[in-house]
């Protein structure tokens, strides 16, 4: 922590600070050009010169690059400094008369027209090298460099060609003090925008981002695949800017082990991919969207700020945010996309689509007052409390026209999406020129549900929804003690159901963990110590490691024999050991050989 | 060559000094052509070639022909130093092939210093 004197003021600064930092800490303004926070300083432009005295010698030094040394005496205002800065700007202005930044700075120092002329005038570049430094030292790429020296020095890309090493991060354009790098020149090299997953990819996000507004914890995360630091080792801008020093690139995903008494599985659901219906063209036509995508669009905190636009007409700003688009005047909602389709898709009813589609038509009407909504449906299922009334309201208020029938084909024509469908009530074929088509895709379990089920030893059905222990009597429990289910991981469920089930699962879990003593099924294995001959064939078959050794000693403490021993806390009572035991010395309580033989006897008299 | 130890230095030095003093019986005279970049640029290689061919033609085998770096007086290159056994070295300057042959015949073989071409006799003072 060196202490130095700046304009007669003593100041202590952090190790590694520069004179410029020290001056700033004193509240002094020093003009800079080739300095940028987050880029190593070079002291090249010499605008930031100050007088520094050390070891009895006073010199002009570049404050942006000169380390704040112990005992240094710095003067930031003097005639000498003023003369130097003025001349620097005069020379730079002679070189770059067009640059507004230079003009402005020159005016501040009282330079109107330079007394000099340069041959290669009308440049904007002042050769400060910030772009070169940020590209090489910060981003770690090396897509721009200097070529030549002295007057012939210029900033170029290698071999003056747009090089493959450029990752199009645009950092050079950001740091350029005179704005002479136009990102348009390498527009096609610009980083691919990173789709914002939470907004279904409608807009983009940065490689450090808060996953979604309600995320818990509500903290940014780094997307390593896209982060420049992880790609090139450079950048690190977030770490430099974070005042809390919270960015840690070294942090790795870690496995933490927790001992728990109960697990509530709530892995939820995802939408069935409607691309499976080739005739609907989802994925090929941007104006065919899923209900979830529509949901994000109508959300006030969503990518369009709550406006409904046709995705094919999205207008983006430089940051990749959607700022406008064309409002869809005709909107078609198609229900049961994937649900109740035994042959090719999912046989079950997804339970929630009827209600949310009714809601969507209402929201659409709120956003596009004079828009027309059509709903293709098979049945309207509204069994919940007040659900029927809600659907009726939609029909009554004519927010949407309900057409009973399936949609056969969706295809673009003249900028519209043509929807061919059947009206089974009138027996007519229907054709609608739509601006937007919303597919109410089926609810399917989250990907990875099976892996988790196998880890947890819980059952699942052919659609990969998790099995409850009993559909009526134990709906939130699984067959594995201590593991409970809630929500759409078990079957398509709407919010009230999910909340109710989650409350039930929580109560069950609490009931398990609040007790002082653990009660368990009495069905555990036990060893007949008299007959056990300690072959330990039972040991490898036990999946729980419940078999141990027990020494039997006489009263004098002499070892009589060793036998197998079952830890009843670990044993789950599967009985694999009982079958393996050659001397019939292990039995499972409640399922002993004798009991089973008796049972067989009784069954086959 | 094996690694040498401090005590080996003296043996090497003695050997070299014997050679330098031309008393190992094999050489009667030594001719040093100064071949720094300045000398080479002025034509020292030609001088060297001339000396070598003169030696070959006349079947001389008791003269050591050697090179060294710049002798300092670059404006008078090419230069060479002729050292007859037991005599002070003589420096010749502004040489060409003809002069070299004359010096070789007259001085190296004949023992008579060619005064017209010589700069001086003796060695430089080393601090």
């Amino acid at each position: 922590m060196p202490t130095l004197t700046v304009n007669r003021q003593e100041i202590e600064v952090a190790d590694g600070a520069t004179v410029l930092d020290a001056a700033k800490a004193c509240g002094l303004e020093i003009p800079t050009l080739c300095h940028h926070r987050g880029v190593p300083s070079a002291g090249a432009c010499r605008i930031c010169v100050v007088e520094a005295t050390s070891r009895g010698r006073t010199r002009l030094i570049a404050s942006c690059a000169y380390p704040a040394e112990e005992g240094l005496v710095v003067q930031t205002e003097s005639e000498r400094i003023k003369r130097s800065r003025k001349m620097t700007l005069e020379l730079l202005l002679a070189r770059c008369p067009e640059s507004e930044r230079i003009q402005e700075m020159a005016r501040e120092l009282g330079v109107d027209t330079p007394r000099f002329k340069t041959e290669n005038r009308n440049q904007k570049c002042i050769m400060c090298g910030l772009c070169v430094r940020v590209c090489n030292q910060v981003i770690g790429v090396g897509a721009v460099c200097f070529s030549g020296r002295g007057q012939t020095r210029e900033v170029v890309t290698p071999y003056k060609e747009l090089s493959d090493v450029c990752i199009g991060c645009g950092a050079c354009a950001v740091v350029c003090p005179t704005g002479c790098i136009d990102p348009a020149e390498f527009r096609d090299k610009l980083l691919e925008r990173i789709p914002n997953e939470f907004n279904c990819g409608f807009d983009s996000r940065r490689s450090i981002y808060v996953p979604f507004p309600q995320a818990v914890p509500n903290k940014p995360v780094i997307d390593r695949e896209n982060c420049i630091h992880f790609r090139t080792g450079g950048c690190g801008a977030c770490a430099q800017i974070c005042p809390a020093g919270a960015i840690d690139y070294e942090a790795e995903d870690e496995f933490t082990e927790e001992k728990v008494g109960a697990i509530v599985v709530t892995t939820g659901y995802q939408l069935y991919n409607p691309a499976a219906y080739e005739e609907y063209g989802y994925g090929r036509y941007p104006d065919v969207v899923t209900s979830l995508e529509f949901e994000r669009m109508v959300s006030a905190s969503g990518p369009t700020g709550g406006n409904v636009y046709r995705p094919s007409t999205f207008e983006y700003d430089d940051d990749g945010k959607i700022v406008g688009g064309e409002k869809p005047m005709v909107c078609v909602f198609v229900k049961c996309v994937g649900s109740r389709e035994e042959v090719k898709h999912k046989p079950y009813c997804s339970n929630i689509c009827c209600m949310y589609t009714a809601k969507h038509t209402m929201l659409y009407e709120h956003k596009v007052h004079d828009g027309q909504a059509f709903v293709f449906y098979m049945d309207v299922r509204a069994p919940g409390k007040n659900y029927e009334q809600f659907v009726r309201r939609v029909a009554k208020e004519k927010t949407a026209t309900y057409i009973r029938g399936r949609v056969a084909k969706i295809f673009p024509r003249n900028g519209k999406m043509v929807v061919w469908g059947a009206d089974t009530l009138s027996g007519n074929q229907v054709e609608i020129d739509a601006d937007l088509v919303v597919l109410a895709a089926a609810v399917v379990p989250s990907s990875g549900a099976v892996d988790l089920a196998q880890k947890l030893r819980i059952g699942y059905d052919e659609h990969e929804f998790f099995n409850e222990a009993h559909p009526k009597l134990r709906p939130v429990e699984t067959n594995t003690a201590g593991i409970f289910l809630a929500g759409a991981c078990q079957a398509p469920r709407d919010i009230p159901e999910t909340v109710a089930q989650a409350s039930g699962a929580a109560a069950k879990a609490l009931g398990l963990v609040v007790r002082d003593e653990y009660e368990r099924e009495p069905i555990v294995a036990c060893v007949d110590e008299n007959t056990c001959n300690a072959c330990f064939n039972c040991e490898p078959v036990c999946a729980y490691g419940a078999i141990g050794e027990k020494e039997i000693r006489d009263r004098k403490g002499n070892l009589v024999k060793i036998v197998a021993e079952v830890n009843p806390g670990l044993c789950q009572g599967c009985g694999a050991c009982a079958v393996t035991c050659r001397s019939n010395s292990i039995e499972v309580e409640g399922f002993t050989d004798a009991e089973l033989y008796a049972e067989i006897d009784a069954l086959v008299p | 060559m094996p690694k040498i130890r401090p005590e080996d230095l003296e043996a090497i030095a003695m050997r070299m000094r014997r050679q330098a003093k031309l008393r190992d019986g094999t050489a009667r005279a030594r001719v040093t052509v100064h071949m720094g970049t300045c000398g080479i640029a002025a034509g020292a290689r030609k001088i060297m070639t001339a000396l070598m061919s003169a030696m070959e033609e006349q079947g001389v085998d008791d003269v050591t022909l050697t090179t060294s770096g710049c002798a300092g007086l670059c404006s008078r290159e090419p230069m060479m130093t002729v050292e007859i056994q037991g005599e002070a070295p003589v420096k010749y300057v502004n040489l060409d092939e003809n002069k070299t042959r004359v010096i070789f015949t007259e001085h190296v073989l004949g023992g008579n210093i060619v005064a017209d071409y010589a700069l001086g006799v003796g060695s430089e003072r080393v601090a």
Binding site: G459, G575, V579, L596, L603, V604 | -
Partner: protein, 157 residues
């Protein structure tokens, strides 16, 4: 069990019709629950099956199967969880390795190996359970009464 008899009433009429006796060893966690589900779902299946509930197919001792045959079962079924889904991690794998080996031993003993069947029925497969039972009952009917042990017993007597 809520299974109800829905097979043809013709069986009642014809006393001579052979009704096979089938002993099934079911895993408590899957097939047994599957059978239960078949009941709660009101699925019908032949009533010839007699179920022994076990914690796991891994608990099935081959001697149980022999015991069942000895007692006069016409067919034995072992049904458990699908591979990978064992409640006890690996019990059904033990069964899957052990019991087919035992099956070949049956042939050596002179028992038609078709009289011993295995199946994987999960707790959610009520339908599959009823199908499995129907299938093996049909097979048992086709194979006819199993009288091997009875003959041995009779000879001995």
């Amino acid at each position: 069990m809520e299974a109800i008899q829905t097979t043809s009433t013709a069986d009642d009429d014809e006393q001579t019709t052979f009704e096979p006796r089938i002993v099934a060893f079911l895993c408590n966690w899957c097939s047994y629950a599957g059978a239960d589900l078949a009941g709660t779902s009101r699925l019908g299946y032949p009533p010839n099956i007699r179920i022994v509930k076990l914690p796991c197919t891994g608990r099935v001792d081959p001697l149980f199967i022999l015991k069942a045959f000895e007692r006069g079962a016409d067919m034995v079924l072992v049904s458990g969880c699908h591979p990978g889904d064992c409640h006890y991690t690996s019990g059904n794998y033990h069964a899957r390795r052990k019991l087919p080996t035992f099956r070949s031993l049956l042939e050596f003993m002179g028992i038609d190996p078709r009289r011993f069947q295995m199946s994987w029925v999960s707790a959610a497969q009520g339908g599959k359970w009823s199908q499995v039972v129907a299938d093996i009952t049909a097979l048992a009917t086709e194979l006819g009464p199993f009288e091997y042990f009875e003959r041995i017993r009779d000879n001995r007597n």
